[in-house]
């Protein structure tokens, strides 16, 4: 029922514009307007702060269904909910939650999570953005790159070190409002896919924030980052799954319509094998993701499960969208059909919120540490 409700919303509100917003690299504020009262910007946040308090499987289904129609909008939601709101909800003080969450769950302030820098990404320890204490404030300087939601963010979580002598142990996460003097949004990146999401750099130049904007203590940054990314990975996995599903449905439909040798191409065993593999991989990906969500909701450790789900769902998205283009032939390579968009969108799911290589690192660490 969650699926039906979200699908109906996505198909009526996003369906007609999904292709255009990709072509024009335009973020659809008019749809955001409609999403706000429906709690799309506080999917898992507590009711007390205006959220919908969804469980993780419902959350995954929601992201999956939005992404099935527009992965770029799905991306905005998953980043906002999983790595924008969640860390504040999980690690913030009551005062911080009261101050930041309501405007975020109302969708007035879209969240962004800013870890990646020119010399840091997979290696979170390489962060060079620095926050220097000054009385009761911190003064932040640095540059963040490839920030999803960068061009539309209201509230950013900035990873910064507080002691250059000891970067690993001094990282902190600062909540920075976009109106803070010294905070500036860079050019919107011209990317291969997810073009309706304004990914940009963020510049922080003598950005002064009160110490009450620091989540936990200096030095807790890495821990917050890791826990947050575990959750974020479920969202990205769901997004990748939605893309795979969309490409698969298009491929099935097209293979039944397209005639070659006076038969629909779906009657050829080659195409049938493709479709069978796509269906199987999507099912496996879905189960892996929902299992990771269930483990999270039951309160267990889910780092490895989330990494497996993210690794497998994103690989599935890349393979399935690739095959969907193949099944469409020349038309699949044309912007007249949606599969080329799915194909472009899918690749980055293997890159952001931890590359596939990093996911394997996380999984291997878990395997070697405690499993037989």
């Amino acid at each position: 029922m969650v699926r039906k409700a979200v699908r109906m919303f996505a198909e009526t509100e996003l369906g007609p514009i999904a292709r255009d917003i990709d072509r024009d690299a335009r973020f659809p504020w008019e749809v955001v307007e409609k999403m706000r009262p429906l709690h799309f910007f506080g999917l898992q946040a507590p009711k007390a702060f205006g959220g919908a308090e969804m469980d993780s499987i419902s959350y995954a289904i929601t992201i999956e269904e939005i992404s099935r129609v527009s992965a770029a909008v799905g991306l905005c939601l998953t980043v906002h909910n999983s790595v924008g709101i969640y860390p504040i909800e999980r690690f913030g003080t009551e005062e911080q939650k009261r101050r930041f969450l309501p405007s975020m769950t109302r969708g007035e302030r879209i969240g962004a999570f800013c870890l990646t820098e020119a010399n840091a990404g997979s290696d979170a320890g390489g962060v060079e953005t620095i926050a220097v204490r000054d009385g009761n404030d911190y003064i932040i300087n640095g540059t963040k790159i490839f920030v999803t939601n960068g061009g539309i963010c209201g509230t950013s979580l900035i990873f910064a070190i507080t002691d250059p002598q000891n970067p690993q142990r001094s990282a902190g996460v600062f909540i920075v409002d976009k109106d803070t003097p010294g905070f500036a949004v860079g050019e919107i990146e011209d990317l291969c896919g997810m073009r309706a999401n304004p990914v940009s750099s963020l510049f922080l130049e003598d950005c002064r924030v009160p110490e009450t904007n620091l989540l936990c203590r200096p030095g807790d940054g890495l821990k917050i980052g890791l826990v947050t990314l575990d959750t974020g990975r479920l969202g990205i996995a769901a997004q990748a799954l939605g893309l795979a599903q969309a490409a698969f449905e298009d491929a099935v439909r097209y293979s039944k319509e397209r005639q070659q040798f006076r038969k629909p191409i779906s009657s050829f065993q080659t195409i049938q094998n493709y479709l069978a593999d796509m269906a199987t991989e999507i099912s496996a990906a879905r189960l892996l993701l929902y299992r990771a969500c269930a483990v999270k909701d039951s309160g267990g450790l889910f780092s490895a499960e989330a990494a497996m789900a993210k690794l497998f769902c994103s690989a599935t998205a890349t393979r399935v969208t690739n095959l969907a283009v193949q099944i469409h032939g020349g038309y699949g390579y044309s912007k007249e059909y949606d599969v080329e968009r799915y194909f472009r969108d899918a690749k980055v799911t293997e890159i952001y919120e931890g590359t596939s290589e990093v996911q394997r690192m996380v999984i291997a660490r878990d395997v070697l540490a405690q499993r037989t």
């Binding site: 029922m1 039906k4 979200v6 009262p37 429906l38 799309f40 959220g51 308090e53 969804m54």
Partner: protein, 277 residues
């Protein structure tokens, strides 16, 4: 404070439903259920009336256990409670028996109702009979095919389009209204409501015994009408190519198809021709 009852039906999502080309029937066993679009409009009307007047909305449906879903959806959208009439004995009911069963359930669960809202028809059977029959069963006035509803005190004013006339009608409460699809554009389901509809809301489930219904009077046994078969008429297409000069083509067109063209533009072309000659 209005006490509103909305009758809902779960119908198969036909767009996703494969046809069996051999028999021309819908393969219902593969159907995903959805709330009938006109019922959705009726629920939207109820929600807007409640927003304006205050009150309580009871959503009621008869069907298999799976039909509970439309009640949860109604609650997610804002209905206060859901009543499911579920009993094998109720299955296979025709429209008359459906109205009878719904009426008894409404009397039992909402004896103080002010207004009953139904969709004007369902997308899977299109009879448009249950609403009016339900008004009869409840012995209250009923108005069908309504586009606009305004409640004021104990009267309700309605507008409906009938042919090219806009009718404005007034009815005393309690009464029943069937609502047109498209009259009230339904809102989207809020995510918060959805989770709550599953976590919190209880659905009241009633069977024939709890409604004191005679098993001979309900379901397939009580139904006077039977559907023998449902098939899709395979519409044959015939391509006709007219040749000649444009003038000759137009003449042929009117000679051979005057009845169809006349039907489309609402004129009796044969009579016109006679008159002219």
């Amino acid at each position: 404070m209005l006490n509103i009852v909305v009758c809902l039906k779960q119908v198969p999502m036909v767009s996703e439903l494969p046809w069996d080309p051999a028999t021309g029937t819908l393969r219902r066993e593969l159907a995903e259920g959805m709330m009938n679009p006109a019922c959705r409009a009726a629920l939207e009307a109820a929600l807007r009336i409640r927003e304006a007047q205050g009150g309580e909305i009871t959503a009621i449906t008869m069907g298999p256990k799976m039909a509970e879903e439309v009640l949860r959806e109604a609650i997610a959208l804002g209905a206060d409670r859901g009543v499911l009439l579920n009993d094998r004995k109720m299955a296979g009911a025709d429209t008359s028996v459906t109205s009878f069963t719904l009426a008894r359930a409404i009397e039992k669960t909402c004896p103080e109702f002010d207004l009953v809202l139904c969709g004007f028809a369902t997308s899977d059977s299109e009879t448009a009979q249950v609403g009016p029959q339900l008004a009869e069963e409840l012995d209250i006035p009923g108005v069908g095919y309504v586009d606009q509803i305004a409640v004021s005190g104990r009267t309700v004013r309605m507008q409906r389009l009938s042919d090219n006339f806009l009718e404005t009608l007034e009815m005393d409460l309690p009464g029943l209204i069937t609502v047109m699809t498209g009259a009230y554009i339904p809102r989207h389901v809020p995510m918060g409501g959805l989770q709550a509809a599953f976590d919190i809301a209880d659905i009241v489930t009633l069977d024939a015994a709890s409604l004191d219904l005679d098993p001979e009077r309900i379901g397939v046994k009580g139904s006077a009408t039977k559907i023998l078969s449902v098939t899709s008429p395979l519409a044959g297409k015939k391509n006709v190519v007219l040749t000649g000069t444009p003038k000759r083509i137009v003449e042929q067109l009117f000679e051979r198809f005057d009845d169809k063209i006349g039907g489309a533009i609402g004129k009796d072309l044969k009579a016109d021709k006679k008159k002219r000659s």
